[in-house]
């Protein structure tokens, strides 16, 4: 079955500390993978997608096909990074998206 797993419901880090939000997926083909973010009282929005290989707001994510992971990383967390983060997968040849359950990131001063 196609699935996205985000093992941490809540991740708390101090400002300036490195951040890694974990995402593992279950899919036998070549997926498109995404990270979405929802800041307080804002809409869900795309943070980055693996095919663009961009760094957005200092965040990067590398697709590891061997470990079927797409972890989100940032070397130095900022308080404004506090938000809900969702990892999502779109199976190739489809228009659907499969979201994980999300990880709430809290960056402490």
């Amino acid at each position: 079955a196609q699935r996205v797993t985000q093992p941490e419901k809540l991740l708390s880090v101090f400002k300036g500390a490195p951040v890694e939000l974990k995402c593992n997926y279950s899919y036998s083909g070549s997926p498109e993978l995404f990270w979405y973010v929802q800041y307080s009282r804002q809409r869900l929005q795309l943070l980055l997608r693996h095919i663009s290989r961009e760094s957005i707001k200092g965040f990067t994510a590398d697709l590891n096909k061997g470990e079927t992971s797409f972890h989100l990383k940032k070397p130095f967390a900022q308080e404004e990074d506090s938000a809900m983060y969702y990892c999502a997968l779109s199976p190739s040849g489809t228009y659907k998206y499969i979201f994980g359950t999300g990880t709430r990131l809290k960056v402490l001063a």
Partner: protein, 117 residues
């Protein structure tokens, strides 16, 4: 551009009733996807509409149906409501390409909170 808009914001219904939720896509977008987000869960894909047709469906029963209008706006209809249908319903719009499976960036609306009593 107000982006993706959804109405109503909140809705309370009783079991067995029917509900219609509405979505207007971002300007320039022609594709609308609907998601159900239960409390503490990630969004679950219901279906996607393009050129007034449903072109992809998730694992939802036939009680969930939709429609897309020529102006690209969309409706989600849920019949015979169950308590388990209580959730936030999100609409997302994007730009599609005919005949091409292309996952364009999705822009989400604020959602409609449905409570079934």
């Amino acid at each position: 551009d107000a982006g993706v808009t959804q109405s109503p914001t909140h809705l309370i219904k009783t079991r067995g009733q029917q509900v219609t939720l509405r979505c207007s896509p971002k300007s320039g977008h022609d594709t609308v996807s609907w998601y159900q987000q239960a409390l503490g869960q990630g969004p679950q894909f219901i279906f996607q509409y393009y050129e007034e047709e449903e072109r992809q469906r998730g694992n939802f029963p036939d009680r969930f149906s939709g429609h897309q209008f020529p102006n690209y706006s969309s409706e989600l209809n849920v019949n015979a409501l169950l308590l388990g249908d209580s959730a936030l319903y999100l609409c997302a719009s994007s730009f599609g390409l005919a005949g091409v499976v292309y996952t364009d960036t999705q822009y989400f609306g604020p959602g409609t909170r449905l409570t079934v009593l």
